[in-house]
Each structure stands twice: as C-alpha cells, then as structure tokens.
Amino acid sequence: MKLTQSLLAGTALALVAGTASAQDMTFVSWGGAYQMSQQKAYVEPYVEANPGVSITWDESSAEAVARLRAMNEAGNITWDLVDVVAADAIRLCDEGLAMEYDPEDMLAPADDGTSAEDDFGDMIVSDCFIPQIAYSTTFGYRTDMVPEGVDAPSDICSIFDLETYPGRRSLERRPINNMEWALYCDGVAKDEIYDVLATPEGQDQALAKLDTIKDDVIWWTAGADTPQLLADGEIFMGSTYNGRLFSVIVEQDQPVAMMWDMQVFDLDGWIIPTGLSDEKLEAVKDFVYFATDTQRLADQAAYISYGPARQSSAPLVGEHAELGIDMAPHMPTNPENAENTLLYNYEFWADYRDDIDAKFQAWLAQ
C-alpha cells in the first residue's frame, strides 16, 4: 500500500537523521540561568572553534544518579558529560558509574604554570569530580517586610526569631543545612555541630529547634521555588542557591536582599560517565580540557554569581555580561560575604544521610 510505503520511507529517513556523527554530544545540566552561563562561557566558544561539533543539552542533573543507574542497567549510556553536585559525584564514583580521571593529564595547567591539581586544590573532592564552581545555599529576605524600627536581619538565627521577624520562611525539604543551622542557633559551637549531629540526642535537639518555626515554614524542593515565593511576598525570608537570589535582586529588580551569614558552600562540576566509546571519550576530553581552563571558568562568572573553582580564575572575574556591574561583591567567596560560613560536609552526610533523612521526613509528617 502507498501509505505503508511512505510511512516506511519516513521512518527510514528518521533513522538516518538519528544516527549520530561522532561529534554530536549530549551534555546534562540544570537548565535555567546556570546552564545558560555554561552555554555562553564554554559551549559557544568551543563550537565556534570546532565547527563540526554539535551539542545537545539535557536538563536532567536533578535526577542524574537515578538516570545513570538506569542507563547502566539497560546497557545504553546516552549522556556524554554530566553536571552534578559534589555529593552526587561521590556517589556515582563509588558505584563505578563515573569515570576516574587524572587531573594532570586531563586538565589544563594555570597560566603561570601551576599544575591543575594544585590550582583546583581541595575542590577535587572525588577521583571522578571535575570541579567548575563553588556556590552557596543562603538566605534572601523581603526588604519591605522588615518590621518598622527593627534592623534588617543579618544573623542566621533571625530565621528562628519569630518575635522580631514575624512572617513565613521557606526552607529546603531535606535535613542537610537545616539541621546545622538549627543546632548552631540552639547554642552549639560551630566546630562541634557535626559531633552533636552524629548522636540521636543531637538530631532530636535540631528537630526540636526546627519545631519552633515549623508552622511558619514552606518547604521547597526546586531552586526556583524560593525566588517565586519571595517575589509573591508569600514569605519573608527563604533559603536557596545564591545565584538564584542574585537573579531576583539584580536582574529582576525585586525588593529582596541577601543574608550571607552561615552560608553553606557546595561544589558543582562535571563527571564523565563510564562506558563511553573511545571516539566519544576523546571528544569529551577535548571539550573538558577547554571548558575548565582558567579563562573559561572566569568567563562563566560574567553570567552567574557563582565562584570559579580554580584559584587562578578568581582575579580574572570581571563584570556582568549584560548589566556591566562588578561581579566580585556578589560572589559567595567575596571576603565580606564569607565572614561566617560552613562547608558542606560530604563525609558526614554520606554516612548519616539515610538515617537523618528518615527522621526528618517522619518529623515533617507529624
């Protein structure tokens, strides 16, 4: 029949079009402004220099671990380079789903000749993790909702102070960060937080502190939630990634300000999935060498307020690409912003995450 013939011809054509040339690569990232910064700082210059290459983005970093497990089980790896947070990189590395690499061999040295390993320093938290940026989880608040005659909040513990700062707050729907903040504001010294949190009594103490504000908390799951709630005036203050707050304050011009106290640093970077063909692997390595050099990482900071992972990139951070404002004061690593900070404790959470998560979810459901 004619219909069948044309259908068959159509599918044959589609199959031909679908077979990838060696230079088609699929990169996985987070979407939104962050992916845009990667596109502008790394991908566009790279594609310009290598016209044969074409890159497709898949915005699936949020479920990268689950998807890579499924791909591995199905024996069909369709991703070539995956952007994940450091904690996920560690898990993927342990499970053998991410490729171990040698920084000396795969990453460019700094301009002054410092080796990549020294330039990234202790940012390389796993043998599979190729660091890109340092970001932080911190608070933003509505400037027009600060009660009259009260100073704007500048202390993390104002989150728990409903009397001075009435109004709803948004916190991430997971124990990480929230438990640390709760203990800190319950009088636990900063360097003892994880010792206390390792004990069941300490966990109960943190939850009891969170319990004091539970009725006024909206729990978020996506990084875009808190900015939306702040713009709506639904909440007075809320935690989210500092780059999101930068976008709300500077790019969207909302009446919101940052509260940097006790911001929690975390890292984000690439991993290369195991099981790529040799040809693909060469292409990916070539891109990674280019995209993680000193200048490229500094360029990324012109589009989003996340700090470059290389020490040698920091002095090169310049102005916002469109707004022309100096980016340095908006970086979480800026000395003024980083007076009192915490670093995501990968080891602690790798060991205790499942237990504390169960407790936290049970507490949420009460």
């Binding site: 679908g18 699929t26 199905a74 709506d232």
Partner: protein
C-alpha cells in the same frame, strides 16, 4: 413557552433573594479585606436595603433605577479600589439591577410551568447555578493562566500594576521568548514531528484492531481487547519504565522512531474504544451487500464501512493526537534530549526556572486545542448535513 404570566412579587421577596446573592459575594469581598463573616453580613444587609428601596418605590422607572444602581456601584468601587474597582462595580451593579427586577416583576416564573411549586422553581434555578459553578470550577485554572501570561515580570504573580490595569504591567515578552528562543522552537518542532505520525499509526492499528475484534468469530476477544487497552489502565510510569528497558535493548531508546512508537501504543486504546463504540451501531448486512455486488473486502472497507464509522475514527484520532502532544512521562524515559517535546520543555521550565513563558505556551496550546475541536465539530456537522442526517 410563555405559559406562565409574570406576576409582580412583593418587595420583601425580591430584596430577600437579592440579599442572598449579596451575602454570597460579600463573603469574598470580606475575606479579601480580612473578615469573611463581616462581608457576609454587610453584603446581605446593603443589598437587601438597596433592593427593597428599588423594588418598593421605583418599579415603574425600571430603566432609571438600573442605571442608578450601576452608577452607585461604580462610584463605590472606585472609592474602594480605584480603576479595578470600577470594573468590578460595573459588573455587580448591572447584575444586581437585572436580578432585582427579574425577581420583582415575576419574570422568573415565565418558562416554568404554571403548576410548578415554589420548591420546584427554586430547584430550577439552583440547578442552573450549580451547573454554572461546576463550569467555573473546571475552567478557572485555565482562565487564570491567560492574564498571567501577559505579565511584564518574570514571576507567576499578579503584580499591583496588572491589578490596576496599568498597561505597564502587561507585556508580550513571554510570547516573544517562545517564538524566538531556540529551545522552545526546537521543542515545538519535535512535538509537531512526533504527534501526527504517532496519531496516524495509532489510528491505523486501532481501527483495524477494533474492526477485527468486533467480528464475533475471533477467539479470546475479551482477553485481546483487555491487553490492547492496557496502556490506558496501567500507570503511565510503569509503561514508561518497561518501554525504556525494552527499547534500550533493541536500540530504539532515544530515537525519533522509538518515541513515535511509544506514543502510538498510548494512543491505540483511545482509537479502539471510540471505533468499537461506533461499530456497535454498524449494520453488518451492508458489508454483505457490498460483497454480494462484487466488492472485495478492501473496497468494502473504504467505500462502505469507513465513511460510516468515520466520526469514531476521527475522535479517536483526536484523542491519540492530544495524548502524544500532552505526554511527558513516557517521552522523558524513551526519548533523549534530541526529542525534547513541548510538554518536556514545559516540565523543565517549571522545575528549573519558573518563567511565565510556560504560561504563554499554555495559552497558545489552549487556543490551538479550541480551534482544533471546533474545526472537527464543524466538519462533523457539515458532513452529517450533507448526508441528510440532523446534527446531534
């Protein structure tokens, strides 16, 4: 059927009916101001007083009374809430002006048989109001999306400028973003490439299956039918995970063909169900008559059976098309980033970056759906008229 003659009712009765509505709307106004109960009482009392005055003293000057009421409401609305208050006030003023005299003149009784008891009259109108409220409940989410898609800000928020009908608060920038952004255009192109092909496959296979399964001599008809419509019953996520592992093995995962086949599988049950339903009324002696006159089965199908079951085929095809066009779960599993469809792109947009571009796309899609359904309905009526059947 103006069997019932309109008999003027008492002013108290008209004012009482109007007061019920006044109290109902007062709840909303009161809740917005902080106290629902106060709004309920105040709304009821104000409307009762106004209606009683109008129904008692101004029955003869109906036109003047209605204009006057509208003006009072507009002025009150302006004093309370400025320009938006004027619009709300005008709507309520016109509504209550109509309502008071509709009740007071007894016109509400026309159209209802004269022997209807007061309770039946009440039910007659209550039924219409309940039906109206259900309609509002169903379409409000869609209606809310439309003005928000013209938001000048990048958030899902009714800004003060928008509520004040300030042109500054509105913008077409999210529509511009949709039409110029390569991500959205790529997603649109993928959807347009995938949905029609999977619809054709679903309609072809689904119609054949329905015709085959309607033959009484086919063994295990019920069992085969149950298997074929299972994609509709099994939770989507289970079909999706199953397809993911199966398609990965045979090299279809992440290909255009894979997504088309997966969507065709989801669309087939809709076609089978609608075509089976039309086949119930199909007279088998027609095919025997065609065979008797020398037509082979294929000719019989296309010349006799197909035209008669066409409405079922078309509506099944429409459902299959919408299934593919709206589907996000299966395509997330079976597709790769190269087959990102519109719903996939919207899903990403919602999770990663709450941007009203999603609302602009939703508004465009609602518009397309309405056009599509209206066109199909008009075509169906036209063909029925041409065939001498009355439009149903």
């Amino acid at each position: 059927m103006a069997l019932t003659i309109a008999k003027p009712t008492s002013a108290i009765f008209a004012a009482g009916v109007a007061a019920v509505f006044g109290a109902f709307f007062g709840i909303f106004a009161g809740t917005a101001q902080g106290s629902g109960l106060l709004g309920f009482v105040a709304g009821g009392a104000v409307i009762f007083a106004l209606s009683w005055v109008l129904a008692s003293f101004m029955r003869e000057q109906q036109k003047a009374a209605r204009w006057g009421l509208a003006v009072i409401f507009i002025v009150a609305g302006f004093l309370f809430a400025g320009l938006p208050g004027v619009v709300t006030g005008a709507i309520f003023g016109v509504f209550f002006g109509w309502l008071i005299f509709f009740v007071a003149s007894g016109r509400y009784r026309t159209g209802i048989p004269p022997y209807a008891t007061p309770r039946q009259v009440l039910w007659h109108y209550a039924f219409r109001i309940i039906a109206g409220l259900i309609l509002v409940f169903l379409i409000t989410p869609i209606l809310v999306v439309m003005p928000l898609s013209f938001n000048a800000e990048d958030f899902f928020t009714f800004t003060p400028e928008m509520l004040a009908f300030d042109p500054e608060g509105y913008s077409l920038k999210h529509y511009r973003d949709f039409f110029t952004n390569s991500d959205w255009q790529g997603a649109l192109w993928n959807s347009v490439r995938i949905a029609p092909v999977s619809t054709i496959l679903a309609v072809g296979f689904g119609t054949l299956a329905a015709i085959g399964l309607s033959q009484p001599h086919v063994p295990f008809r019920q069992a085969i039918m149950a298997i074929l419509i299972s994609p509709m019953i099994v939770p989507l996520i289970i079909s999706a995970a199953g397809m993911y592992f199966f398609y990965s093995r045979i090299g279809l995962q992440g290909t255009y063909l894979g997504v088309v086949l997966a969507h065709a599988a989801l669309g087939i049950p809709f076609v089978i169900i609608t075509v089976t339903a039309t086949l119930v009324g199909f007279d088998r002696s027609l095919t025997r008559a065609a065979a008797n006159m020398g037509a082979d089965p294929v000719t019989t199908f296309f010349r006799v059976q197909m035209p008669l079951i066409l409405p079922g085929v078309i509506s099944g095809g429409l459902f299959a098309f919408i299934t593919s066009f709206d589907e996000v779960v299966v395509v997330l599993f079976v597709g790769s980033a190269g087959q990102k469809t519109l719903p996939w792109q919207m899903f990403i947009g919602l999770r990663e970056q709450i941007s009203p571009t999603i609302l602009a796309v939703a508004t465009i899609l609602v518009g397309i759906s309405i056009c599509l359904l209206a066109t199909v309905e008009l075509l169906r009526r036209r063909s029925e008229r041409l065939r001498g059947m009355s439009p149903s």
